[in-house]
Symmetry: C2
Subunit: 332 residues, 2 copies
């Protein structure tokens, strides 16, 4: 018994040493990839206000909920959402098992390399592609497929792994918030089962803190073992007005900080802004055609129009990637 | 700057002192309301196996997911689910605004005090009562109603607040697991928005770790402010085969420990059991007619029949309340 107790106390001592080390890191610049300016200053001021004991804006740690969109906010989303590239890769991989796709749209165009033709069918075409590649298997089978893909698949423009195309300043922000007692969540229109495979590794966000769009699931037994089968039927779309709904379903508390980059995030930002006490609403503005992409009001992917107007009217923080970020990707 | 740093280091020092104190508490008996016996021993052995560094059954903290049913597992559920008592109280409170209820079942019987008659309509009757009392308001309005109710409403048999009718041994178990790096979740057929109001206060489980049944929500603006309106439409039933689905939707990881008390928990227990590595499946068996209630295979509330057979066949831990628990409620 004595030994066990000693070992446990040693464990605590080690944890203490780590806590002190973390404190020292915090005291230095926690956001080195952010240029000095309004955005960075606004974030740091907000965090100080809600964490300082005795501050009139103090928020208990349990209520320090921060929500982040994923595509275009934590990682890139051009020229297509990365999950759509995943789906396209899967269509190619599955084609031998589906001879009928040779003559069936949108698969036929896709397999001929005509991406534009395939996506000409709009949302119904995308729905078909997503369902053919995200359903009809168990959750464990899907997880393995995504795990293999994210470890190897490369972006067509940069030649980098998709997993490398995360924004370094946002990784620093996530870490900084967590070091200050925040609980960080992803709230994305992307597939929940897709993102959860890599959210911990890429962002330090565990699967239970990922909120996304989902298909229906069915519990059944296969060869005597219980499995969850992914059905080709939409359960929930976590986009636009769905984002506050997704936040309520999963968290049951209103965020005090939210970050997005497109009109799909507007309602999440409005919902965050409408709470009482100190709030922070941020928008990543894609303004850097050289280091990343430049797009906003007219883009079909990640359109930022109404949310940009509202941010300007309400004084939310708009971060220009070009001016606000010293570095965009870690590989730069 | 120097002062801030000093203050932060002081904060870390305080956290360290607390951590050491916690370690000392852990070393003593963390489950004082449990009688010595197989159930208690099984729990302690399991926790040691999955937390001991170097153990072949070691599980990293992030994967130490523990899920608990609520009604009949964390608090009592007789003679009716407490949430149904809440709904009945609400029908009485709302009756003046609904003169039509005087002649409309199941409300008419209910308002005359004829509970049996009201519930004779079975599930459709219960559905009507639940929807009339859980929808048609914003999530914030509902939260306030539940908060007021849980603070004052008393159980018809014991005369105690419902909030006091939580099982002391299970509170100790939740605390013991968390002290050992587990993340504790509720996975209940009860309403998610209902439980979240008191889960943190009663069980130390934050709202984002509560999974339950839910109605659909709608985001809209009222008087210029965004709200989430609770619609009279079921979104998800977190019971039976719904429990593993709810676990996947919310957590995205399989539990390594699960506790239930009825056939509604069977699939959650099967799902937990089917994972690889060390597992713990527990069932609370209501065997104490004097201190609580005694019921199992023939009860309409909390029926325990198939799950009891499977527990016996598979060697899951069945905790007899009569023999396993020194104390059931804190007020004893």
């Amino acid at each position: 018994m004595k030994t066990t107790l000693t070992q446990r106390l040693m464990g605590s001592a080690l944890a203490c040493a780590l806590a002190v080390a973390t404190t020292l890191v915090q005291a230095a610049d926690a956001l080195p990839s952010w240029n000095e300016g309004n955005a960075k200053q606004g974030i740091v001021d907000f965090v100080k206000r809600v964490t300082a004991k005795g501050s009139k804006d103090f928020v208990p740690p349990a209520e320090r909920i921060a929500t982040f969109d994923n595509d275009g906010t934590l990682w890139a989303e051009q020229p297509l959402y990365f999950q759509l590239f995943f789906a396209l890769d899967r269509v190619k991989a599955l084609a031998p098992q589906h001879p009928e796709w040779k003559t069936k749209e949108p698969f036929a165009s896709l397999l001929k390399g005509d991406l534009k033709g395939a996506l000409a069918g709009g949302e119904p075409a995308i729905f078909q592609i997503v369902m053919a590649t995200h359903a009809g298997m168990t959750t464990e089978e899907f997880e393995k497929i995504v795990r293999d893909w994210i470890a190897t698949a490369k972006h067509p423009k940069t030649g980098r792994l998709y997993a490398e195309m995360v924004y370094q300043p946002m990784l620093e922000l996530l870490r900084y918030l967590r070091a200050n007692g925040f609980k960080t969540f992803i709230v994305s229109g992307g597939g929940i089962d897709f993102m959860r495979v890599f959210s911990e590794q890429l962002y330090g966000i565990p699967p239970e803190q990922v909120i996304g769009s989902s298909g229906k699931l069915k519990f059944e037994f296969r060869e005597g073992k219980p499995v969850l089968v992914k059905l080709p039927e939409i359960d929930f779309i976590d986009d636009k007005a769905g984002k506050p709904v997704g936040i309520q379903k999963h968290i049951g508390r209103r965020p005090i900080l939210a970050f997005g980059n497109s009109d799909g995030d507007l309602q999440m930002l409005q919902w965050t802004a409408a709470g009482s006490g100190a709030r922070f609403m941020g928008i990543v503005h894609h303004t850097d055609a050289e280091r990343e992409w430049a797009y906003d009001r007219k883009s079909s992917i990640g359109r930022l129009d109404k949310a940009l107007d509202e941010a300007q009217a309400k004084g939310w923080t708009v971060v220009s990637m070009k001016n606000g970020w010293k570095r965009i990707f870690a590989f730069e």
